[in-house]
């Protein structure tokens, strides 16, 4: 039979080919499982720095300590901004060196070092000159690849994990371009850097390449998404704010959708429909075999349910017609009532809409399963962004850079954090009536998120909205017990590039089904195409990982 390729599928493949070309280093992309690796838990733990919690700041909203390998903690949160932030470090971090650091930015660029009093103030406090080479966050991978391939590597280079996934030969590049940090940080060697020692072990384990500790990680929060809803409007209208099954959510959608009043129940929600239908996050191991999420019966049930939402027009027409619909505006105006977003999106919406609508409030539905059984929830990898140090720098330079990264890793509630995030008090920011920093005009112009990328910190919920911070942490702590254990927990796997490249074109085809452009019966065919095009090959790879780790 001749394989059918839909238009969207084709565009996806064409885009993929372009991406593959764009990502090729001079040696060319290696096909198949090239670049994919797996490292076992025990090895990873022995490489990680010792965990020594920083006692200087205690969150007033407690979090949840993760006991699941590879899953980040819920770090807790704050309901107020400390009137007198603690000084985390007593000694100057730098020794007067000068370093260039490449970081991504999703926003307007600040003035350069020479004309930027914020950069100057932070550098003075650090005791070294960090000069940023800010690059556009959305095209970051192109620039990173070009610089790595040309051997034109800055002293400090930040690379997000999702960009690393796009680099075919990163496993080799990482050895050639970046310094091995194991001799500096492994185990108790981390002690001169107390704030790096404060980063969770699970995050450090993601910084290992080729059996070496290569980067300082930026910890993440545990959950990729939540199902957010307009709490103020739900409270006002007395709608069901705790649906227990997929059917209840659908009924709720029917009840609150009213096109005449320009009100639709849903924005984009399908990523949350997956855990609701208990589709595994990636693979399920049962009966000695690995089953991919696309192959599960739950996945098909999910498709049918989503299709129903589209068919009955419970999803906002702008979201249906355009991938890039401005959901945040639609949520703000009450045209959409429920949508999925990361927890960071919650804060963003509050910043955007609360100044003009003081009642504006969101909450997340407690997680539930489609049939009312025990729910599951997905989790993030424990590190999302990595900071690398250029290979071949003299030992003192590497130590000075690590000391600067240590300064940058100061958590919320410290003087260092305040300076690196908001600038100088009464110059770049003032404390607002709620006690939280508000940028001045100069601050808006000069302060950009730059030092913050150099080494992460425990990810506290530090929102200037105490009511929302409480709801958020309640949800996070409550949801933690439902995090799905996956068969690879604790093993650090770099996905085979061919397999990760399949994701977008395949899911585009499933989207066609959800939107009613292809019949539901096509799901089986899409799965067999996926298997043929690399899915089965990936299964072999993952099975081998399980066998190598004695789990199969």
């Amino acid at each position: 039979m001749h394989p059918q390729t839909s238009r969207r599928g084709f565009l996806g493949l064409a885009g993929l080919a372009a991406l593959a070309t764009a990502c090729s280093t001079p040696s060319g992309p290696r096909p198949g499982t090239g670049g994919a690796t797996a490292a076992a838990k025990e090895k990873l733990t022995s490489l990680a720095p010792s965990y020594i919690p920083f006692q200087g700041v205690q969150p007033d909203l407690p979090g949840t300590k993760s006991t699941i390998p590879g899953v980040p903690d819920v770090s807790g949160g704050f309901t107020s901004y400390p009137a007198n932030p603690a000084q985390a470090l007593t000694q100057k971090a730098g020794k007067g060196g000068g370093y260039k650091a490449m970081t991504p930015l999703w926003g307007p660029p600040p003035p350069g070092l020479a004309a930027n009093s914020y950069f100057q103030a932070v550098n003075a406090d650090i005791g070294a000159t960090v000069e940023f080479q800010i690059a556009d966050g959305n095209t970051y991978v192109d620039k990173a690849i070009a610089r790595l391939a040309a051997g034109d590597v800055p002293d400090i280079m930040v690379i997000p994990s999702w960009e690393i996934d796009k680099m075919a030969d990163f496993n080799r590049a990482v050895d050639q371009a970046f310094e091995d940090l194991t001799p500096y940080l492994q185990g108790d060697k981390v002690k001169p850097y107390p704030l790096l020692a404060n980063l969770p072990t699970a995050s450090w384990e993601w910084s290992v390449w080729n059996g070496k500790l290569m980067a300082v990680p930026f910890p993440t929060e545990p959950y990729p998404y939540a199902l957010l809803y307009r709490k103020d409007l739900f409270d006002k209208n007395g709608w069901n704010d705790s649906p227990k099954t997929a059917e209840e959510l659908y009924q709720l959608g029917k009840e609150i959708t009213d096109p005449k009043a320009k009100r639709w129940a849903f924005g984009a929600i399908h990523e949350m429909a997956w855990p609701i239908f208990k589709v595994p996050q990636e693979w399920r191991y049962e009966g000695g075999k690995l089953v991919h999420k696309y192959e599960t019966p739950e996945f098909e049930q999910m498709l049918a349910w989503m299709r129903k939402l589209y068919e009955e027009e419970l999803i906002h027409p702008n979201v249906v017609s355009s991938k890039s619909a401005n959901e945040k505006e639609l949520i703000g105006s009450g045209q959409i009532l429920i949508y999925r977003d990361g927890l960071g999106g919650w804060k963003e919406l509050l910043i955007q809409h609360r100044p003009r609508n003081p009642d504006f409030a969101l909450n997340a539905f407690p997680v539930f399963a489609h049939d009312g059984s025990r729910p599951i929830m997905y989790h993030n990898n424990a590190a999302g962004i990595f900071t690398f140090v250029k290979k071949g720098l003299p030992k003192e330079k590497v130590e000075e850079i690590l000391s600067i990264l240590n300064w940058c890793a100061a958590p919320f509630g410290t003087k260092e954090y305040e300076l690196s995030n908001y600038g100088v008090k009464d110059k770049h920011f003032t404390l607002g009536s709620d006690g939280f920093p508000k940028p001045t005009e100069l601050g808006t112009k000069e302060v950009a998120y730059t030092y913050g990328f150099l080494g992460g910190r425990p990810l506290y919920v530090d929102w200037p909205f105490p009511d929302a911070a409480k709801l958020n942490l309640e949800w996070q702590n409550n949801t933690f017990q439902y995090i799905e254990r996956n068969p690879f927990a604790g093993i650090r796997i770099q996905r085979p590039s061919k397999y990760s490249g399949l994701q977008v074109p395949t899911e585009d085809k499933f989207t066609d089904i959800m939107r009613g452009r292809r019949p539901l019966g096509d799901a089986k065919q899409i799965v067999s195409e996926w298997r043929r095009d690399g899915g089965d090959e990936a299964r072999e790879f993952y099975m081998k990982v399980l066998r190598d780790n004695g789990r199969a």
Binding site: A22, P26, M102, L105, G107, P108, P109, P110, P111, G112, F132, A135, D136, G137, N138, D142, K143, I145, A146, A149, A150, D152, P154, P160, W162, T220, P224, Y225, N318, N326, K328, E329, G332, S333, G342, G344, G345, W346, K347, E348, L349, I351, Q352, N357, N380, G384, I385, N421, F436, P437, P439, T444, K445, V447, A448, Y449, G452, F453, L459, P464
Partner: protein, 300 residues
């Protein structure tokens, strides 16, 4: 004054004219309507944008706040100057090189003109690829220099071929008679050929200028110092403000509690700013446009 129709053409009927008018008006509205929404949204307050749930259709409260915010920091103003500079210098260099090369390649007797033309045409088929290009640029020491935005793209094969085709069309008799009068190649080019090629030069100049004005990817690759960024890249940063894909953690990494989330009014004012220069230049070059491109393209 009424002009008589030629004998083979009847006066169009009223219905016919009305029909055409309607269709044309319809097309014009289709083109202008999105622009209208863009301009109106850029001039609306956040309240009006929120109420509309996106692009504004019906004028509400108007304000220039978006434009004020854009130009307040000095970053955009600087980027405008950079872009104007790069566009002006770049277009001059590109035109000079293209004219000289096209003229040389259009003279049948010139040295190695066939192999050279072949090399130029080859770049039609095979682009250099991002990394080799980066290696050349960094090897020449152009990284972080404005020249990196100009030199790698100074000549476009397409423009060169169009211009060469145009030059070849100039009758040999004209250049021969100039030569009899004692003119050398440069004089012929400057005094005879170029004045006869105003149209194509204007068009190709416009193509180059629009290219320089719109380009942002070279700047992404070659400029490490963000204070040297051209306008398009800076504006892009405003459009994508806060849209990191960090599993939805954008608020923490990109906003860090101070920058505002992307604001539709600002995004739309950016579209307006990016459009304006091209919109201004186009009418002046337009009359050459159809002529220049068609002549170059049809006759080889």
């Amino acid at each position: 004054m009424k002009t008589a129709n030629p004998s083979w053409a009847e006066r169009p009927t009223l219905i016919g004219r009305f029909g055409k008018g309607t269709v044309l008006t319809g097309i014009v509205v289709c083109v202008l309507f999105p622009l209208y929404m863009v301009v109106l949204t850029s001039l609306s307050t956040q309240e009006a944008v929120t109420r509309a749930g996106g692009l504004v259709l019906i004028p509400g409260e108007l304000s220039l706040a978006a434009y004020e915010q854009l130009f307040a920091g000095g970053v955009v103003t600087r980027a405008v100057l950079v872009s104007l500079g790069v566009t002006t210098v770049g277009t001059l260099i590109s035109l000079t090189v293209t004219v000289l090369a096209a003229y040389g390649l259009s003279r049948p007797g010139s040295l190695l003109h066939r192999p050279l033309l072949f090399l130029v045409l080859l770049t039609f088929l095979f682009g250099p690829g991002m990394i080799p290009k980066y290696l050349v640029v960094s090897g020449l020491g152009l990284v972080d220099s404005y020249w990196s935005l100009i030199l790698p793209v100074a000549v476009t094969a397409f423009n060169l071929v169009v211009m060469r085709a145009f030059f070849m069309n100039i009758p040999k008799e004209v250049t021969d008679s100039a030569r009899i009068d004692g003119a050398g190649e440069f004089t012929i080019l400057a005094r005879i050929v170029l004045p006869m090629s105003k149209g194509v030069t204007a068009v190709i100049g416009l193509l180059y200028a629009v290219g320089y004005w719109n380009s942002f990817f070279d700047a992404v690759l070659y400029l490490n110092d963000s204070s040297k960024w051209p306008l398009q890249l800076v504006l892009r940063q405003y459009v994508y403000q806060g849209q990191s894909l960090f599993a939805g953690q954008s608020a923490d990494t990109a906003l860090a509690g101070h920058a505002m989330p992307p604001n539709l009014a600002i995004q739309m004012s950016i579209v307006v700013i990016a459009l304006l220069p091209v919109l201004f230049v186009y009418p002046f070059v337009q009359r050459h446009f159809t002529k220049g491109v068609i002549i170059g393209a049809v006759k080889g």
